[in-house]
Symmetry: C2
């Protein structure tokens, strides 16, 4: 009866790195974006909730569950801006897919690299939907771990050919420039956020500080700009001046979560926003004219992780990547969990120890 | 710099089975109970929330997070009563311990076997605190995967020597009786819940059906009985007649969660309950006299899993059990996640595939 037990596949960080290397980052970003769009178009099918956050002085740890009738997914993810000082990533993540009809976990995967890919894919999908079609220049403010992924996603899916980059940490900018060296992108290093924003069609903010920062102020925002606000994603962690939001059309992933975590946490609870899936499905308007300022107040939503998990599961299966892990004990009689301990299960061998 | 990265230890189902076999189940139950009591005594130190449940027609999948200033823990657990028909366990679980100050996951472990141990440990701890001291006879209604663990925990921690057992499934009862054969317990097979309850000092209900069942009615409850109600743990899943609750002193783990999931979901929102930690710490009364009926309306709380996870981590370290898994990609520069993809990361090798 053991063979009936559905296996749990494990994809380590190495496995997913290998997978992305094999298919190429561009193809993975495009594949995840396509999957996210498809899943956003069936938005009402999902059992959605705002993620559960556990805050501490230096960061946050979050669990992000979601399910449709077939699959349950969740992601574990942290956000600790000071981690880089001790050589650790700001964001670390892993996640699980499980069968809704039995509860059996079927996939356990790294999601740190995958989160960077799905966040960039979501940003680019939103910009393709909300920005002016002829956008070619993007300001990229915040040049940390997510920045290359944003750059490549916007090049591939939006048509960006010039980046105006800025970070408070010049080493981060130097790293970004070096990484984009062979990426067919014209990169201009700027000395301030204001300078980066100048002449940009799209402004992406992807900063990490856990404060109510004001990365962008209204004077930096030209008519027609699309703002892709990625780093304001936690209570007390915002990037945009409230007046930018007040004058713009603001789009969000899942309103109940963004009210708590997004840049709109600065605004009144009835501040009008539109969910991205509504624009994708044609049930709400996106940009109305070329001079509108649009803001995608992105915080990261569980559905994007479900989409990414199903994508990498499919790619891993194509490549034959992944190990089977025994997370769940297997018994011939499921009511006989006790039997896994063997014939004399209770208190033998105690004497032999200590 | 890779050596600075804190490792994630993985304990598979086999590892934890081996661990319990080595130390003995009795010692593990006692160790977990001790850990749970110690953690319940520092209750205010924990960041607590009701677990997040995703309900489907046949079951529920839950995430149970909790943290103190040092450690974050969560458990994934399902409850699918019909699973046994396809050879799968009703309850499957795994969990994680992470560092609060960095968010790094440090332990990934099976928790199916461990959940049975911690549930039994919590039940016995509550009974030791709330039942009359001279309890020797326990009714055990529901003879499935959890039942042996309850039996042994109550034998060891409460002094039960006689079990009156009943299940709607006679095979489950036969399995329980066989498993307890060498366990120094006098086991009496009963033909109904009412018969099992007759003469019992403690009544444990640990049934699985996802319905508002009425396993116990007021006529079965003698003065002085302690009821350990384990199986009413989900909205729409209860075991006790409301009149039993109305006449008893009811104790719970974490009130906000039990209001939703426990047998008290049948009662008014202001129905009085006492949290177990208050009795343990002496800030609230437990049983007031020998004729009181006490109910432990147990649903399973995240803190019990944190206690169990820290216990098995310590035991595994003593035995040198466990593997290191690379859930998180490691880079020499944490801001350079892109570098894990290698020198020409974006879209090489695409052509070679498909």
């Amino acid at each position: 009866m053991q063979s009936r037990f559905p296996p749990t596949v494990y994809l380590s960080a190495c496995d997913v790195i290998h997978l992305v290397q094999r298919f190429g980052l561009s193809r993975c970003i495009a594949g995840v974006a396509e999957r996210i769009e498809r899943d956003f178009l069936r938005w009402p099918e999902f059992d959605k909730s705002a993620r559960v956050a556990c805050h501490s002085s230096d960061g946050v740890i979050e669990l992000m569950p979601i399910a449709d009738a077939q699959e349950f997914a969740f992601k574990y993810v942290n956000g600790h801006p000071k981690n880089t000082r001790r050589g650790l990533p700001t964001v670390m993540a892993f996640g699980v897919l499980a069968d809704v009809d039995t509860g059996a976990p079927r996939l356990l995967s790294e999601l740190t690299l995958t989160t960077a890919i799905r966040t960039a894919a979501t940003s680019a999908l939103a910009a393709r939907t909300l920005a002016r079609p002829e956008c070619r220049v993007m300001a990229l403010i915040g040049n940390g771990a997510q920045s290359e992924f944003q750059a490549i996603a916007f090049r591939d899916l939006v048509g960006i050919h010039t980046l105006r980059v800025y970070d408070v940490d010049p080493d981060a900018t130097a790293k970004l420039v070096a990484n984009l060296n062979s990426q067919r992108l014209h990169v201009i290093i700027c000395n301030s956020a204001a300078e980066a924003a100048r002449g940009a069609d799209i402004i992406t903010t992807v900063t990490a500080d856990k404060t109510n920062a004001t990365i962008l102020t209204p004077d930096m925002i030209a008519p027609g700009v699309h703002i892709n606000a990625v780093g304001g994603d936690c209570p007390g962690k915002t990037e945009l001046h409230a007046d930018i939001l007040a004058r713009a059309d603001v789009f969000v992933e899942y309103e109940p979560q963004t009210r708590i975590e997004g840049d709109i946490q600065q605004m009144a609870p009835d501040f009008p926003v539109t969910e991205l899936w509504q624009v994708l499905s044609g049930t709400a308007a996106g940009r109305k004219c070329d001079t509108d300022v649009t803001v995608f107040d992105s915080v990261g939503f569980a559905l994007e992780d479900l989409s990414a998990l199903t994508f990498i599961r499919e790619m891993a299966a194509q490549l034959g990547i992944g190990d089977i892990v025994e997370l769940i004990p297997q018994t011939s009689d499921p009511k006989n969990l006790f039997s896994v301990l063997g014939p004399q299960s209770a208190d033998h061998r105690v004497a032999a120890l200590v």
